[in-house]
Symmetry: C2
Subunit: 417 residues, 2 copies
């Protein structure tokens, strides 16, 4: 069984939006071990949509299609599918009620052109859409060479498509797969992408189940170890020895498991598990560390306070950084970073404080202190831990890298305790 | 002339990454008015890549392909292109020097399998890759029916692909287009997506050049008005009257032009133009407003200080919010929002201060104050402006909507001055 994903929408061909639907569907299918061989995008053009269905079914058993289920004349996905299988379109009372109820909720009459949304290829399984007017459908039928093919039609907006994929399509498709795919993520910090890959290249190469994939972003490398087996438990059995070996190679202080692959989630878990409170003093990162941490549900128990002290004055006034320190060493220095962290801890009364200071660019750099230079500092149990970072790249990259480094330093300090 | 974009990479089919390459290329082609009819994604599979080239060239004049230019046996894009056109692969001395230099920089020997990266379909235009080992190429030749077709091969990593697209491919393709496409963005706030669209539906429907496209995200709707003409000046002439009419319909206080479509950029421009300083008091948004503002280069002249006061204590201690106010009205109230903004302005000495307070969820809501309730407040020239917001949706949506509302309120207050 293999799938082609067909996304319909001119806005994708114009580059107005990124195709997150194809990614979402691919990911969900990977989890139940159903292969995707092609993804195709086509615009709102009747002739090309029909051709795309033909090509899709010629090379895949299942075509999952998003978009083109709306009420306008452009929305011809269902008709194209019916034509491919040579079946007629039939009226569905349930879909009529569904659309009517949505319009009644807004006290509007049922618009005549919405009748299109109540017709489906005869013999379809209709999938309810609690988040919009367009119901989806699954049609299974034979192609001209007498092979069974399945067409699955989903609405285009992600907030409508994703629940329908999760709640209807995946349970339906599970009958075609006897496998479970399960993965775990290892976050590696303090080691560059190439170096990290090289350290474990022999393991990556010799693995077939589990497989190991690498994703690098500012300040970290994420290794995803994925196994395929009859059950999740069997998958974990396959993953464990490989994971252990990877952690051994990178060192425990540089490598750790996080479901999401996000350092802020690891830090939040550690803070909450250890009942530690935290405060932040951000210059360079301007609230970025704070907004990452605060995205973790329940973190309000641990997060006391953040200071975004972009100007020298605010560092002095709000964090009690000494004027002489800034004059002597500069705002971007180990010394200022330390006083910022200390100030935040003292003022907020938090157990841990973390600070960032640096030069994001594009201007403001000098020979001694170039754009991309940053210091992050953690103050914890009377001790300072400072890390100096040199980043290249755009303003956003410099800030992101410093934010990840600051969070990772908090993690490391708590774990070393 | 029309293009098919062919992206090669199993990581796309597994849903590991989103296909930003297809979007980037589509967008760049739209700017020079070259149509894209299909985007296809295929894995690292020789047979399927060859078939995808065949289908691509059967329905497009130009196939632009990303990925598969690496040194491994899986990387067969160039070979597949050469096979399609029936030409041989030839050695390119320049590419050899290029790869060798990169390895020398890291004091390593030229690895034998990298020789693959020095061979190209005979007659190609080679495109240098300053950001990686894989050079790209453009090949123009005749298909089996004697039609001219063009194959363009680009590396897969975006940081290598994007500059090559901008600096080599776009200048090359311009010869096939006599048109310029230019667009402007109108940000609309305070009006919901459906309502906003309905207010101008007649204009959208009757327009063919310029066209109007709508994009909604938390707290705002962006209208992009795009014209196609012989020059940018002609495009602007076409756009202006439509833009004026749209602004008239929405009202000047709710609609404004921003290149990026980001409210924070408009606010930053207004702050800098009017030499106004700002400070922030964020509870609900936890640094999000701050990190948005700080992404604007040069904003350090205006941004004085931010307070992330998540706990009641920190609101009282750092922003001088009265304990009685929180006791009487609650932390999520108009009164607390006002005192937060006032405190930030007073402590930082800024001209403007903005505050946010609310309930992000998933827990913490009550009947009177449900999850999604938020207040944003601006204090400016001795006056308060407060906005109450009800958001539905996930934690991130609630925070994003409040952040956009806070920034938009700053904009409105400065403009009304």
């Amino acid at each position: 069984m293999n799938v082609e994903i067909l996304c319909i929408g001119s806005e994708l061909l114009h580059g107005d939006i990124v195709n997150t639907n194809a990614r979402y569907i691919s990911k969900k299918l990977a989890e139940i071990a159903i292969d995707v061989h092609y993804q195709t995008v086509v615009g709102d053009n009747t002739d090309r949509i029909k051709k795309a269905f033909g090509i899709g079914f010629s090379r895949a058993d299942i075509v999952i299609c998003t978009g083109g289920l709306g009420p306008t004349q452009d929305d011809i996905t269902k008709e194209a599918l019916a034509e491919y299988f040579g079946v007629e379109m039939v009226y569905d009372e349930g879909s009529y009620e569904h659309v009517k109820n949505i319009y009644m909720r807004f006290r509007r009459d049922f618009p005549q052109n919405n009748m299109r949304q109540t017709y489906f290829p005869k013999g379809s399984i209709i999938m309810d859409n609690p988040n919009g007017t367009a119901n989806g459908c699954i049609y299974r039928g034979k192609d001209s060479e007498d092979n069974y093919k399945i067409g699955i039609l989903l609405p285009g907006p992600p907030k409508e498509m994703e629940p329908m994929m999760d709640l209807k399509v995946i349970p339906y498709l599970k009958q075609f797969s006897n496998w479970v795919v399960y993965g775990e993520k290892l976050v590696v910090t303090n080691i560059g992408e190439s170096a990290a890959e090289e350290m474990v290249l022999d393991i990556i190469k010799k693995q077939t189940n589990p497989t190991i994939a690498t994703f690098a972003s500012a300040g970290k490398v994420v290794f995803r170890i994925t196994a395929k087996a009859e059950s999740k438990e069997k998958c974990i059995e396959l993953i464990e020895p490989v994971m252990e070996e990877l952690i051994k190679r990178f060192g425990k202080d540089n490598a750790y498991l996080v479901d999401s692959g996000n350092v802020e989630d690891k830090v939040s878990q550690l803070l909450l598990e250890n009942s530690l409170t935290i405060s932040l003093a951000e210059s360079l990162t301007g609230g970025l560390v704070s907004s990452k941490l605060i995205s973790y549900p329940g973190i309000s128990k641990s997060y006391l306070q953040g200071f975004v002290t972009y100007s020298n004055e605010s560092k002095i006034k709000s964090l009690n950084v000494k004027e002489e320190t800034i004059e002597k060493y500069g705002a971007v220095s180990e010394e200022t970073a330390k006083e910022m962290a200390y100030g935040a801890a003292e003022i907020s009364g938090s157990d841990i404080a973390v600070s960032t200071t640096g030069i994001a660019g594009p201007d403001g750099g000098s020979k001694e202190k170039p754009v991309g230079l940053a210091y992050v500092c953690v103050y914890f149990e009377g001790r300072y831990e400072v890390k100096k970072i040199h980043s290249s790249g755009a303003r956003e990259t410099v800030r992101e890298r410093a934010a990840v480094a600051a969070l990772d330093l908090v993690r490391s300090c708590i774990e070393k305790k």
